[in-house]
């Protein structure tokens, strides 16, 4: 139903009809699949990369200037590509690795390439913000570098790392919607094919609602987890 032909409220009401959701549900599942898979990849590799970056940085536990410069440059290069460009750039790569450049799995490469560096920087920021004195106290007690990283830095930074992950997750959700218009499927695909090309505005409204709900859930749970930890530690 289009706004051009039908009254506003009729279109809005139709956005909740079975007809619309029969088409939308499979797309929602596709989107969730992409989001969850990319989120897991981003979480694991992003945290590792973030820790690595902060360990080898100039003021890190084990500074390695050459590697730090190289890694930083690569991360900055990946981060300077807008998400849309990243999707286009990684299409040939997806064809090479997966045999096809469209579909749900193909877009995960682009999502990971875009979101891992972004999240790694957020993790690095969370670690840098740990008061220097705590790291010094750990050093003064004779901690090894590994103990400092895994027993002090990570646990101390966990609330901020979770907050950062909420930001990254919302980024991933918005990027899956974008990837939809490049053949990835999912809600973005529905919004473009039905909502934009064919003026199915009821579909468009339903897609928007799904995206809002997803982001809202991500934010609520992110805040909840991070606040739970902070409250347990009596920091808020």
């Amino acid at each position: 139903m289009s706004f051009l032909k039908y009254p506003f409220w009729d279109v809005v009401k139709h956005a909740f009809s079975k007809e619309v959701w029969d088409t939308l549900w499979p797309a929602v599942w596709d989107t969730l699949y992409m989001v969850v898979l990319s989120a897991v990849i981003t979480l694991v590799l992003g945290v590792l990369l973030g820790i690595g970056l902060s360990v080898i940085s100039k003021d890190g536990v084990r500074p390695i200037p050459v590697l730090n410069e190289t890694a930083s440059t690569i991360v900055n290069c990946l981060r300077s590509l807008p998400q849309m460009i990243m999707i286009i750039v990684t299409l040939p790569l997806a064809r090479m690795l997966l045999g096809q450049s469209y579909g749900v799995n193909a877009c995960i490469i682009a999502l990971a390439a875009s979101c891992i560096p972004m999240y790694a920087r957020l993790v690095q920021g969370a670690i840098v913000e740990i008061p220097k004195g705590k790291i010094e106290a750990a050093k003064a007690m004779g901690s090894s570098s590994a103990a400092i990283v895994f027993r002090i830095m990570l646990p101390e930074a966990i609330p901020s790392i979770i907050r950062g992950f909420t930001v990254a997750l919302i980024g991933i959700i918005s990027m899956t919607a974008l990837a939809g218009s490049f053949g990835a499927g999912g809600i973005g695909d529905i919004a473009v094919r039905f909502g934009f090309n064919r003026f199915y505005h009821d579909m468009l409204i339903a897609s928007v609602l799904v995206l809002i709900v997803m982001v809202e859930i991500a934010q609520i749970f992110g805040d909840l987890f991070s606040n739970l930890i902070l409250r347990k530690r009596h920091l808020i």
């Binding site: 008061p131 004195g133 705590k134 010094e136 106290a137 750990a138 050093k139 003064a140 007690m141 004779g142 901690s143 090894s144 103990a147 027993r151 002090i152 646990p155 101390e156 966990i158 347990k232 530690r233 009596h234 920091l235």
Partner: protein, 262 residues
């Protein structure tokens, strides 16, 4: 008996792009085993840097630091990490780990040397008793007061039975009552465990209360040192005099205001 901690001609310069700041300009210091040694001076005199050179949180440019028969400044990274386990340190900002409970904070240094769990439990409860925080075992540092935090800091610093305890302005962030309690605790530790304590402070009252000997630092040089009594009764240097004047005046004022002084 020879001195237990010896510092010979210690130099340290901080460099940034624009300027060089000479923080330590040749410090010589001898501290006997079992002493409480105070290092006093105004802000920027180099007190903190000096004490941080002892466990090499700061690398001195030149000079030597000895503790017992070990030349700290000659240790490699691995040896230093091991030696540091026997040098306790407490800080102005406490630097407790917020992610760990009081128990875990105190147990942390013990886990670094792979102590059996049962031994850790015994040791930690003994330390908690010593610092009077047995009931706060499972609390997180975030819920403690400043004085309590510093007690945990002291217990943590003592966990591996150190022979030296470095105190970097440990009472400067505390109220007068907590300050006195912490000073008494330090004195008690020194008495019962025989730990040598090096205490930096800008609060003369603190040094006067528990230190046997005191050194006065100014602009990276040690301008005076001796027994606490000598320094306080008859300061030779201008800093020593100014320090004492300021201190007396402050004491006078606070007495005048109805207080008991600090």
């Amino acid at each position: 008996m020879g001195a237990y901690i010896r510092i010979e001609d210690l130099h340290k310069t901080f460099k940034n792009k624009k300027e060089k700041i000479e923080v330590l300009r040749g410090i010589d210091l001898e501290i006997n085993k079992g002493e409480i040694y105070g290092i006093v001076g105004f802000s920027g005199a180099g007190k903190s840097t000096l004490v941080r050179c002892i466990n090499r949180l700061e690398e001195p440019d030149s000079g030597k630091v000895w503790i017992g028969d070990t030349e700290i400044t000659a240790l490699n990274k691995k040896q230093l990490t091991e030696r540091r386990r026997k040098i306790g340190m407490i800080f102005q900002q406490f630097n407790l780990f917020d992610s760990m409970t009081v128990y875990q904070n105190i147990a942390y240094p013990l886990t670094l040397v792979k102590t059996p769990k049962k031994e850790i439990e015994e040791k930690v409860s003994k330390l908690l008793e010593l610092v009077g925080l047995s009931d706060k075992k499972d609390a997180y540092p975030g819920s403690l007061s400043g004085g309590q935090k510093q007690r945990v800091g002291i217990a943590r610093a003592l966990a591996n039975d150190p022979d030296v305890l470095l105190s970097d302005e440990a009472t400067s962030a505390l109220d007068p009552v907590s300050t006195l309690a912490i000073l008494d605790l330090l004195e008690q530790i020194n008495d019962e465990l025989g730990v040598t304590i090096i205490m930096i402070t800008h609060e003369l009252e603190a040094a006067k209360r528990i230190c046997g000997k005191v050194a006065v630092l100014e602009n990276g040089r040690m301008i005076e040192s001796g027994t606490t009594q000598d320094i306080f009764l008859d300061p030779k240097s201008s800093t020593g005099k100014i320090f004492l004047e300021v201190y007396k005046e402050f004491r006078h004022k606070s007495t005048f205001a109805g207080g008991e002084g600090i």
